[in-house]
């Protein structure tokens, strides 16, 4: 098949961090080429380079055999590259028609020949089966129709290469079928598609070729015919099992610190809900939750820390049923949380390190007189300096805003706050995401230390190696449910990765 796009030796560096490193990637005419990889594997960076939002640090891009420089999104459109973002870029208060002609390059004069434009769009819509109601407002149409509008818009602006970023994430099953039918039509007409997804089943159904990214590098490009879910999962998460340096513990006899009993939350959504999930966490063990991102892990973490309330089912903390779902109540029951987004959920960026460290207990007698009536700022400062030392927070002063710290040091501030509260249950969501090796191993050491003090730990991570390294017990999250439970000692890697794909 004739080659449409070739990206050669693409690297993109941010500071010392390579988001993309020496990536080779090509798309043929009439092909669906899937980019597969975990969050943070570098898919978005690569696509942002392709649509002109980023300039590569190194590497070349060829379109139809000619080298091109794509220095802006409008340049990308001109070259026939159209992207349908995961979160649609539509003006909600305008009609479908107006959205499609927005930024139209056909228009010569000041006025828009609406009748002619309309005919063009209707012809395109007919040709590719992109059924949309042109005169409806975006707010009045379904998500699937919004997506068709986006695709139609890209085609109208002359796209030969379509990038679909997680197009099925927001769709119902029936709408996904419709989308696939459209994709077949598009490649039948010689268009090419880059499909970004981490849903194995869809990838296997629709792709011609699959390129797997991991940690910013290409792990491999395979033909659909030569692979299966198992092989892909192995490539995606890295298959070599290294012996864990930590001893694995069987804590099944210990006290149950937290229990989810047949819990439902937003059950209809397979990727942002939980359905009939049951899970026990004992004191003094690390339970690892493995799974491809977006199978309910976020909801699981927020539910067991009181941020979300279940639609059905019960939550028990230390044997007591929880009646009111509110983070404060959970904190009082000894639940601590290292949330997945440390800047948004964990820290008050504009406040100082010291203030963040005492955020939960400034009314404690150590830090204030009269239960919060007069803060003892000196005591808070002294405490913060002690914590900065104990948790190795590298800063010039504890009065420095926490925003000015590196990610690793921010995470240590959160760890210090949560662990010093002497938790019974510690929920950690992606605790080492974006951290360097030193900070990562510090976090891991702290986890082991907490486990030895009898803390029950729920570790949610998209980093499969981390799950294998740390967990005493491994459960797999798939489409909002638990797909299997495995021992952390000599974990059956093949079985676990199969479970992650829903088999």
């Amino acid at each position: 098949m004739e080659e449409l796009l070739r990206m050669e030796h693409i690297s993109k560096r941010f500071g010392n961090f390579y988001a993309n490193q020496d990536i080779n990637f090509s798309v043929a005419k009439g092909e669906v080429h899937t980019l597969l990889g975990e969050n943070g594997a570098g898919k978005s960076t690569l696509m942002n380079i392709l649509i002109g939002l980023y300039q590569p640090t190194e590497g070349k891009i060829f379109l139809n055999g000619q080298e091109v420089r794509i220095d802006s999104p409008s340049q990308a459109v001109k070259l026939g590259i159209g992207m349908v973002h995961q979160h649609f870029m539509l003006v909600e208060a305008m009609t479908v028609f107006d959205n499609i002609i927005l930024g139209d390059k056909h228009a010569k004069g000041v006025f828009i020949d609406r009748a002619a434009r309309r005919k063009e769009i209707e012809a395109l819509s007919e040709k590719y089966g992109l059924d949309v109601q042109l005169d409806k407002l975006i707010t009045d149409i379904s998500v699937g129709e919004q997506q068709r509008t986006e695709i139609l818009k890209a085609l109208y602006h002359g796209a030969e290469l379509l990038i679909l970023d997680e197009p099925s994430a927001a769709l119902t099953d029936i709408e996904v079928e419709g989308l696939f039918a459209i994709m077949h039509k598009l490649i039948g007409e010689g268009k090419s598609i880059i499909f970004i997804s981490h849903k194995m089943r869809e990838v296997l159904r629709i792709s011609d070729r699959i390129t797997i990214l991991r940690l910013g590098k290409v792990v491999g490009t395979v033909n659909r015919a030569d692979t299966d879910g198992q092989k892909l999962a192995n490539l995606m998460i890295g298959k070599e099992l290294t012996e864990s340096q930590y001893e694995k513990i069987d804590a099944s006899g210990a006290e149950v610190v937290a229990e989810l009993d047949h819990v439902d939350f937003n059950k209809e959504s397979k990727h942002s809900g939980l359905s009939d999930l049951s899970l026990k966490i004992h004191a003094g063990e690390i339970v690892g939750v493995a799974g491809v991102d977006g199978n309910g892990q976020t909801q699981l973490a927020q539910l067991i820390t009181g941020v979300l309330a279940p639609d059905a089912g019960e939550v028990h903390l230390k044997g007591k049923r929880v009646a009111v779902f509110d983070p404060n109540g959970f904190i009082e029951h000894g639940v601590c949380h290292v949330p997945e987004d440390r800047n948004l959920q964990g820290l008050i960026g504009d406040m100082s390190i010291a203030e963040n460290l005492v955020l939960k207990d400034a009314d404690d007698a150590r830090f204030s007189k009269g239960r919060g009536l007069l803060l003892k700022k000196r005591a808070i400062g002294d405490y913060a300096r002690r914590m900065a030392e104990k948790y190795d927070v590298r800063c010039t002063s504890v009065d420095q805003s926490v925003r000015s710290l590196s990610g690793g040091n921010q995470q240590k501030v959160i760890l210090a706050r949560e662990l010093e509260n002497d938790p019974a249950l510690l929920v950690m969501a992606h605790p080492t995401r974006g951290l360097d090796i030193g900070a990562t191993s510090f976090v891991h050491e702290q986890m082991i230390g907490a486990r030895e003090r009898g803390v029950g730990i729920l570790l949610i991570s998209a980093d499969f190696d981390e799950i294998l390294e740390m967990s005493d017990r491994i459960v797999v999250c798939f489409e909002g449910g638990i797909m299997g439970e495995f021992s952390g000692k000599n974990p059956p890697v093949e079985e676990i990765s199969l479970a992650m794909t829903g088999k």
Binding site: N328, E332, T396
Partner: protein
């Protein structure tokens, strides 16, 4: 060191804004044919030159301090109360009606009227708060709308219900409930003392208590506050009520100390002036009060300036507007990473190593 750096960053923008505003104001004065140095001299002389002038400046500053503190407190909690004016008016109406109907005089009458004003302002502030928290409505729009409701309600009072003969104003309140002056020969009253006390209390609450600490945390990052067990909705509602009560208290102090009656134009513009002053004061209660005083100086002094040099008072308005423009622009500027880098260079700090 770190604290010094923060203080430096916080003071730099307002001071530079004022300097730049005067610079441009001076150019305009020169273009009008006046000597800017002389004009500015008269400006300050008008505000501070005589005992009566100082009294007038402080009187003018008092209501501005209240509405500025009202905005300051709400913004600290991350909610945008643009209803300072309505809350101010509700406070003045409540104070007036209390005096008018109870006929209480003396200390008891004053205290009751002030409390009634604070209560009315608090309730008026609570409405957008409740609608925001329970219904997710935009608090800015609702609080602005409530300003009109308050203005029109006051209009009904002084044109129909309690009109002073044929004049569209209410009768004045009894002299026995006037807020007493502190220094004879100077117009300002105990209202100023109350304003300063409120400012100091806000400073203490915001920076020295756990409640204020948590309130600021909510203002900076609502999500993280919720994840850390802070009842976000309760804090937001409380800040609406307290902020409304401050404005309401200001309205009653203005009525009892300066205006004595409800009349067309009572408190007009104070609400939005307060918002601007709170922003220039970097949402610090004490700085906010100083900014309110500065604005009062510009307003009072400009009349003297016009009389002495012929420079119209509108030049003073231009300076006030420029201070606002420069402050807002400056605050956006300080958010840029380049500014942070520059500040670090000034303080000779090496960037911490990535860890």
């Amino acid at each position: 060191m770190e604290k010094l750096k923060k203080a430096f960053g916080a003071c730099l923008v307002p001071l530079l804004s004022i300097l730049l505003a005067f610079l441009i104001g001076g150019i305009i004065m020169a273009a009008l044919g006046a000597d800017p140095f002389v004009a500015v001299k008269f400006l300050f002389q008008g505000a501070f030159g005589t005992k009566a002038g100082i009294g007038t400046t402080l009187t003018k500053a008092t209501p501005l301090m209240f509405t500025a503190l009202c905005a300051c407190f709400a913004y600290k909690c991350g909610v945008f109360n643009l209803g300072g004016e309505g809350q101010f008016l509700m406070g003045s109406m409540a104070a007036f009606l209390t005096c008018y109907f109870t006929g209480l005089t003396g200390f008891a009458g004053i205290v009751l009227a002030l409390l009634a004003g604070a209560l009315a302002g608090g309730i008026w502030g609570m409405i957008p708060g409740v609608l925001k928290i329970t219904r997710g409505q935009n608090e800015m729009i609702i609080s602005i709308m409530l300003n009109y409701v308050a203005t029109l309600l006051m209009g009904v009072i002084y044109t129909s219900w309690i009109r002073d003969a044929s004049v569209p104003q209410t009768p004045a309140i009894d002299e026995a409930v006037h807020l007493p002056r502190i220094v004879s020969g100077m117009r300002f009253t105990w209202g100023l003392v109350i304003a300063i006390a409120v400012g100091l209390i806000l400073y203490y609450v915001l920076f020295w208590t756990n409640a204020g600490f948590r309130l600021r945390a909510v203002g900076y990052n609502m999500t993280a506050s919720r994840f850390n067990g802070i009842p976000v909705g309760r804090y937001m509602l409380a800040s609406f009520i307290v902020s409304g009560a401050i404005a309401g208290l200001g309205g009653s102090a203005e009525l009892l100390g300066t205006q004595f009656r409800l009349i067309n134009g009572f408190g007009a513009g104070y609400g939005f002036d307060g918002v601007a002053m709170a922003l220039i004061g970097q949402l610090h209660p004490i700085a906010t009060m100083l900014v309110a005083l500065f604005f009062a100086v510009l307003r009072v002094g400009s009349t003297t300036m016009q009389a002495a040099t012929g420079v119209p008072t509108s030049v003073s308005d231009i300076i006030q507007a420029l201070v606002i423009v420069f402050s807002v622009a400056g605050m956006a500027l300080t958010k840029l990473p380049e500014f942070e880098a520059w500040k670090n260079r000034v303080f000779g700090k090496r960037k911490e190593g990535a860890a």
